[in-house]
Symmetry: C2
Subunit: 328 residues, 2 copies
């Protein structure tokens, strides 16, 4: 009997979840819910239904875990608590500062409904958070660092696209290699924003736009670019599509710390990801946690959870015996 | 009220645990148990007692978690089940093939006594196992690789020391850089033993020993060296002490896998450790899991556990709220 998965929201993340389900034989995609006209949405899984989001409640007993694939700005703060009334849910809420509030909102509803809701699943928040937490528990006398990239930042690409005269744009966040090396050498540097990452922008201009003005506007944009060393390349739309069509990402979590009676020994823990597709990797993490949500709920563990709360074995299709024999 | 820690066995690992306790303000070392004459053992923590191992039972209600620091060959298979009758215990049992049997032995006793026993804690088994498991759950369509080193292998150093004419020796296990790179590039190679690691030996000869014969004996030793490219350096005892006195280690766990409807996207997950002191890092992991053992037992979760069974948050001195606000 497979774990029956539903997807709410069929963008990059929703499609990624669909692909991840296909790789896990203990799971089955049963329905995709969309705000669009269902007839206009074509999915890859022949056996699954496409339904309007307004029909979701009717699937209450036909779905074991509903994956919420909306955005963190406006969708998930509404959707995750709302659907936790009816379903076990997993989301990838990634507005770090609002996680405590989101957790409390989901927890209250899910405890009431007896459902399990796992929030903020993916790689950051998600696997990066886990690695920050494990490393800091192991090396309390240490310091941790997170670097992102090389990868596409959707938010920064959007910010460039909003500039007058810009037709299209793609922005890459790139960790500064020399800084990464200094961290690896255990120097525990104090780092400014500029020292950690650079930003590289590929911009397609509207006809007649003023390149110098656009470049100036990008480089001085507060929060997004002003505090970084930023490079701007102007390219054609064809080049953008040909060379920058992917959504790669990745990054590094490092912790260096000391041990010994006089803290005489140094240690470095490093976790890194190199991802061809940010949404597909995020989806793969989500699907592993969907398995955990299903199991936790079977055990009666209702309420909101994060990656910190979940025993690693709950993510695996293998039994405890198999894991101990093959992976420990 | 601190978590009261006991140490059984005061070698490199026991001393490492003592140092790790010092770095964790919510813990306190109360006693060290030794098979030697207690008067002959001097420890670093002034407030802790040194007792003969035969007195351990009397400390039943004065210790929250007993850390078993014996060897995996003969000590732990006896000690962990025996002491799980009286104490919550953590061990670093690392004979991978015997983990299932050891788990069952500890589980039976601990369930009966109502204690919690966490076995096979450290970095491999331990943090490396966790990373193999998380990565394989996230990327089921993939392949994982573990490389060890550069670091000192105690077992291989001992094997060299047993050769006639050898006074002292230190052996380093070194991952083959080109192979690591091939794995990072997602080539998913099938690898022979020789392709993964090389072995470098620093040997001090007895006076009058035949260097060529010793080198030949090392390089052809079955299991230990015959399947590897091995380099042997003859050095003086002074050089050995001066340049090879440490116990560094480390390694890499990598998993590369594909996602996408046609598995068109590649991903690489890499976890690595660079450790100045193998026993002190192992001890630091053990102490984080001692905190988990204490908490699990307070909740009534008796029996044997491994790193796979334990929610990450149980390792941290921080509360769930603090972790969600600061680390997620």
């Amino acid at each position: 009997m497979s774990i029956r998965i539903g997807i709410l929201g069929y963008g990059n993340l929703g499609r990624g979840v669909e692909c991840a389900v296909k790789q896990n034989p203990d799971m089955e995609l049963v329905a995709v819910f969309t705000r669009r006209e269902p007839q206009t949405v074509s999915i890859l899984t022949e056996s699954a239904s496409v339904c309007h989001v307004s029909e979701a409640a009717a699937w209450k007993d036909k779905i074991d875990v509903l994956i919420l694939c909306g955005g963190s700005a406006t969708d998930l703060p509404e959707q995750t608590p709302a659907y936790a009334k009816l379903f076990n849910v997993v989301d990838s809420f990634d507005t770090h500062a609002n996680i405590p509030k989101h957790f409390d909102a989901v927890d209250a509803v899910a405890k009431e409904s007896g459902k399990t809701g796992i929030i903020s699943v993916g790689w950051d928040p998600g696997m990066f958070s886990l690695n920050r937490m494990y490393a800091s528990a192991i090396l309390p006398g240490g310091k941790d660092y997170t670097f992102w990239g090389k990868g596409v930042s959707q938010g920064h690409s959007d910010a460039i696209r909003r500039i007058e005269g810009v037709k299209n744009a793609k922005q890459y966040t790139i960790p500064v290699e020399a800084t990464l090396e200094a961290v690896r050498e255990g120097k525990n540097p104090e780092l400014s924003t500029r020292e950690k990452h650079t930003r590289e922008c590929f911009v397609v201009l509207e006809e007649g736009a003023d390149a110098a003005k656009v470049e100036q506007e990008i480089k001085t944009m507060p929060n997004y670019f002003a505090d970084y060393d930023t490079t701007v390349h102007f390219i054609s739309e064809e080049e953008l599509i040909r060379d920058h069509g992917g959504i790669p990402h990745g990054g590094f979590v490092l912790r260096s710390g000391k041990t010994g009676w006089e803290e005489e020994n140094s240690h470095l823990i490093e976790y890194s990801l190199k991802l061809d597709s940010n949404p597909e990797f995020t989806s793969s993490v989500i699907i592993a946690y969907a398995r955990a949500a299903y199991r936790l709920n079977k055990e009666g563990q209702a309420g909101a959870k994060t990656v910190f709360d979940i025993p690693p074995a709950y993510l695996s299709a293998k039994s405890g015996e198999e894991l101990r024999a093959a992976m420990l």
